[in-house]
């Protein structure tokens, strides 16, 4: 366990070095948040929008910004790169589990992002002074917290799986791009998925992506009835197991294929 903590610490130091990339990542979040804030502001001038109040929508936007910083990451891009240039070989030599190694590596970046995003949201609130909701219901908060943990793992699994494409192809940036935009849409990063028609909504909820952001946020905003809640949690857990299984399988297949070419 200690070695993973060291990984975390080293990765933290490294992240501070890649300041520009970090800055850019945060800028993207901030501008996105600003844009959405104004969109919702406009749409709720005359009252509720799709059953959401102004405060709920603003909370959704801020919440999405903060949650994204923890749940979404980009370090896993490096995995594909490392596989492609052969650097990956050293993991096979070390007494270390690659999956968990990368996880802790990611964690450092996410923690930094998280701190920054709290800061950003704080500044924004100070300047714009919007209405927002601070949830106080204990059971909601517990479920909320639990859903975030699950979302963290779910995202990591999905992202890791996509990176494994690198075992089969030199081209990993394209699929990554596709994956990330698919996520933007279906995770509810921009707006609550419930604004869609019932059919579309249930389709999205049967896919794993909705559980990354929409699900936690709707728990926080108390938009989920208890029965729905249990069902959706179950579905999410099933997805986690399925994807974990697929990942393990693809990993072993990919490893066989990996010839350590490159260096």
């Amino acid at each position: 366990m200690k070695k993973y903590w060291t990984v975390f610490k080293m990765s933290w130091a490294r992240e501070l070095e890649y300041r520009f990339n970090f800055f850019l990542w945060r800028l993207r979040s901030f501008i996105g948040m600003t844009l959405l804030y104004f969109v919702w502001f406009s749409l709720t001038l005359k009252g509720k929008f799709a059953g959401f109040t102004e405060a709920e929508l603003f909370t959704y936007v801020f919440g999405a910004n903060i949650l994204r910083s923890i749940i979404f990451g980009s370090q896993t891009r490096n995995i594909a790169e490392e596989i492609n240039n052969g650097w990956f070989s050293r993991y096979l030599l070390m007494p270390i589990n690659h999956f968990w190694f990368e996880f802790f590596r990611e964690l450092a970046q996410r923690t930094l992002n998280f701190i920054s995003s709290i800061f950003e949201v704080g500044i924004f609130i100070l300047i714009a002074k919007p209405n927002f909701i601070l949830e106080k219901n204990f059971s909601s908060l517990t479920f909320f917290f639990f859903s975030i943990i699950l979302a963290l793992f779910l995202y990591y699994l999905l992202s890791y799986l996509v990176s494994l494409v690198a075992f089969w192809s030199r081209e990993a940036m394209g699929p990554r791009f596709l994956f990330e935009w698919l996520l933007e849409f279906s995770s509810g990063a921009y707006f609550p998925l419930s604004v869609f028609s019932e059919f579309l909504f249930f389709t999205l909820m049967s896919l794993p992506f909705a559980y990354l952001l929409y699900f936690p946020l709707s728990i926080y905003l108390e938009k989920m009835h208890n029965s729905e809640l249990i069902n959706f949690f179950a579905l999410e857990l099933i997805w986690i197991f399925v994807i974990a299984f697929i990942t393990k399988y693809i990993w072993s297949k990919g490893l066989k294929r990996f010839t350590g070419e490159g260096i």
């Binding site: 993207r28 600003t34 104004f38 699929p175 596709l178």
Partner: protein
């Protein structure tokens, strides 16, 4: 001379397309990715109008038109000036030396080296949809269409200026990262009409990171909502900005030639 550069551009575009197509998985993924990105925002706008009749005073087709204009301008910018993203590496690895030792304009060559075939493919349906939506809105006159196209041009000049400044920074300061990303991230606010923003933000994005000049002004011209004085403002801004950027580039290149090692 112009003929030479046109021929050269065409060749660079073909070569770049060849390069892109040789990476089939990436090609398909990016193509799909861009369509999803487009489709997703489109769906967002449709969803908005499923629950409301207006966004900042604009109707559905008008908001869609803003969004399409954003796509057209953004894609055109990428189409012509995408070389900037590889430029930093080119300089860092020393390959830029080859470029400046050849009888070709170094700025042109570096920016035009990465014409994106995918954007080109992407542009066609976008323009078609834009024409359709334009008809739905209905009341466009020849003047509106003309103004729209002219202002798009001015907007493209501003985008060119931004790319040139970014290239100049790369060549000037070896530690400078790719400033072009500031532009790219800011562009996203052009997806929606500028009236949603507060006056201060509008000001910022009109004069400092001129997204509004690039996207919203032309769109408004088409929608017959533009005070004609903006045509003049846009022209002046684009000319000054472009001129300024070329000056910066020249300084940067001089500096490079004094300091490269």
């Amino acid at each position: 001379m112009i003929k030479k550069y046109l021929k050269l551009w065409k060749l660079l575009a073909i070569l770049s397309a060849g390069s892109i197509l040789s990476n089939r998985i990436d090609f398909v993924s990016y193509l799909f990715g861009k369509f999803i990105r487009f489709g997703f925002f489109f769906a967002f706008i449709l969803a908005i109008f499923a629950h409301s009749n207006s966004l900042a005073g604009y109707g559905k087709y008008e908001v869609i038109f803003f969004f399409l204009t954003f796509n057209i301008v953004d894609t055109l910018g990428q189409l012509f000036f995408r070389g900037i993203y590889d430029f930093r590496n080119e300089v860092r690895l020393g390959n830029f030396d080859y470029t400046i030792s050849k009888p070709v304009n170094a700025l042109f060559f570096s920016l035009s080296r990465a014409v994106d075939l995918i954007d080109f493919i992407f542009l066609i349906p976008i323009v078609l949809i834009a024409i359709y939506v334009g008809f739905q809105i209905g009341h466009a006159t020849i003047y509106n269409i003309f103004a729209y196209i002219i202002l798009l041009f001015f907007g493209l000049f501003v985008i060119l200026g931004i790319h040139i400044i970014s290239a100049a920074l790369i060549v000037w300061k070896t530690e400078a990262e790719n400033a072009i990303w500031l532009y790219r991230e800011s562009m996203t606010i052009g997806r929606f009409p500028p009236e949603i923003f507060s006056p201060k933000i509008k000001f910022l994005f009109t004069y400092f990171m001129p997204i509004i000049i690039i996207i919203s002004i032309p769109a408004k011209a088409f929608l017959n909502m533009l005070n004609p004085v903006w045509i003049l403002i846009s022209f002046l801004y684009a000319s000054l900005f472009l001129g300024f950027s070329v000056l910066i580039w020249r300084r940067g290149l001089r500096h490079y030639s004094s300091a490269s090692s």
